[in-house]
């Protein structure tokens, strides 16, 4: 238990550093799609909700878990969908005017 905690803290710290370094390089041009993408990725919390609902430990946990899955899944689907729609719109200028 204690070991897991320390490992988890290391993981968190390293992930935060990677996050800073990777995201710093993203141009302001794409900050809106960045936010919707991280939102979709963040909805990985659905994993915890699925386990909670599936374990079927109490009626309350099933109800809350089900709502949680619905909320997170709508973020996954909606988040990826809108990010892709936005990114599809970004085009460079090419001399192809009719």
């Amino acid at each position: 238990m204690k070991f897991d905690l320390i490992t988890d803290l290391y993981v968190f710290m390293l992930a935060a550093f990677i996050g800073f370094e990777v995201i710093r390089r993203i141009s302001p041009l794409l900050h809106t799609p960045l936010m919707s993408l991280t939102n979709a990725l963040d909805a990985i919390a659905v994993v915890g909700a699925i386990l909670l609902t599936g374990r079927h430990e109490s009626p309350l946990s099933v109800v809350l878990g089900t709502i949680a899955i619905v909320a997170a899944t709508s973020n996954v689907v909606g988040g990826f969908l809108i990010t892709d729609r936005m990114l599809k719109m970004f085009k460079t200028s090419r001399p192809q005017k009719p």
């Binding site: 238990m1 897991d4 905690l5 490992t7 988890d8 993981v11 992930a15 990677i18 996050g19 800073f20 990777v22 141009s27 302001p28 041009l29 794409l30 900050h31 809106t32 960045l34 936010m35 991280t38 939102n39 979709a40 990725l41 963040d42 909805a43 990985i44 919390a45 915890g48 909700a49 699925i50 386990l51 909670l52 609902t53 599936g54 374990r55 079927h56 946990s61 809350l64 878990g65 089900t66 709502i67 949680a68 899955i69 619905v70 909320a71 997170a72 899944t73 709508s74 973020n75 689907v77 909606g78 969908l81 809108i82 936005m86 990114l87 719109m89 970004f90 085009k91 460079t92 200028s93």
Partner: protein, 465 residues
Amino acid sequence: MTQISTQTIIEITYLIATALFILALKWMSNPARARHGVWAGELGMLLAICGTLLNSGIVDYKWIAIALVLGSIIGVPLGMVHMTAVPQRTALSHCFGALCVTLVGASEFYLRTPEVPRFTMGVLSMEVILGSLTFTGSLMAAGKLQELLPQRPITYKGQNFVNLSLLAVSIGVAVFLVIHPDRAAFFPVILGVPLVLGVMMIIPIGGADMPTVISLLNSYAGLSAAAMGFVLDSKLLIIAGALDGASGFILSVNMSKAMNRSFTNVIFGAFGQEQKHVAAGAEERTVRSASAEEAAQILGAASKVMIVPGYGMAVAQAQHKVRELYDALTKKGVDVRFGIHPVAGRMPGHMNVLLAEADIPYDKLMDLDEANPEFPQTDVALVIGANDVTNPAARTDAGSPIYGMPILDVDKAHTVMVVKRGMSPGFAGIDNPLYYLDRTLMLFGDAKAFVGAIVRELAGGGGHG
């Protein structure tokens, strides 16, 4: 034996998903490859969900299946909203993310109590506090952005005291629960009080502060998911939450830098209230206005034009007319660029998305640092629906509330044209000396209609048809 190997398979899917998530963000740094990032994210998500479904602890799939289907059905319309609705959609998705985290946190507490280890109780409290705070806060932000709630900041005496007290109560009870994890009766406090705090925190936030606040809520949502990862001992969740938290944090820092304000100032010092600023000389100063015809002549004769869009362009839905203007001028050989301030609009990158939607190539969109050195060589700076981000008082007038805020130096262009409905001051109620400069021409009217009129003049006047 099979038990172990299934567990290993699950862990491997999580590992691959984590790598794909990091790649997804890495690919976002290049607009040409950014869509690969979305695909990597989707694949990672699919793998992680499938891996989770293999878990031997799951005894009942019925509700999971129903919820996954229902969530997908709700998700599709949320993914298909109009581009102008993206800020409120984003706020709403922070709200959903936080809801998921909070509900799971609360359930985990009630399933584990009274034997919750202290550390778990600590992160669980963090998860629940941040989660419920973000839930109502984002809901309020979405309501303001959708204009269901008044956009003006609402302030009252002792507001900061109330908010800080609510925060102190939540943290105090959380600490108490860490010491006495068996006192389950106190748990609703760390659920309920932050719910109220979320509402109270957003009440004094005005439209111009939305980019910062939305980024901050983004960061909170990420951190609460990371806390949930600690509770469940899931490295995948910790990493995804940390990435999201870092992203939201970087964006909030960028936004508050772009407004020359600190976080605390954004949260605790509602903008636009203390400015009783009497513009004594304002009435005597004259402004020069011009018609669409004159504007078209000047623009047509220019060789370099910088368009500066703001929230007003989004409100008037003028981006497609702006695109027509861009086409008409480009056809005449005018070099047209766009100067975009980080806090133009209601969320980070808002203007870029709207202009990209109108098919304006992204290599013509310049950020603050790229655009500013260009203004002295620019013939015409055309400001459409932006105000405070072009206010030269930020550079020169130490008494101005926005003094020190980095602005787009449109006043350094040879001619400045400002499309504006009337002479009413901007969001913050600050007078803009830009409008009284000799080189400034005011184009009074609705952004969409006026830009449309300029386009017609350009087509009719210089077409040689």
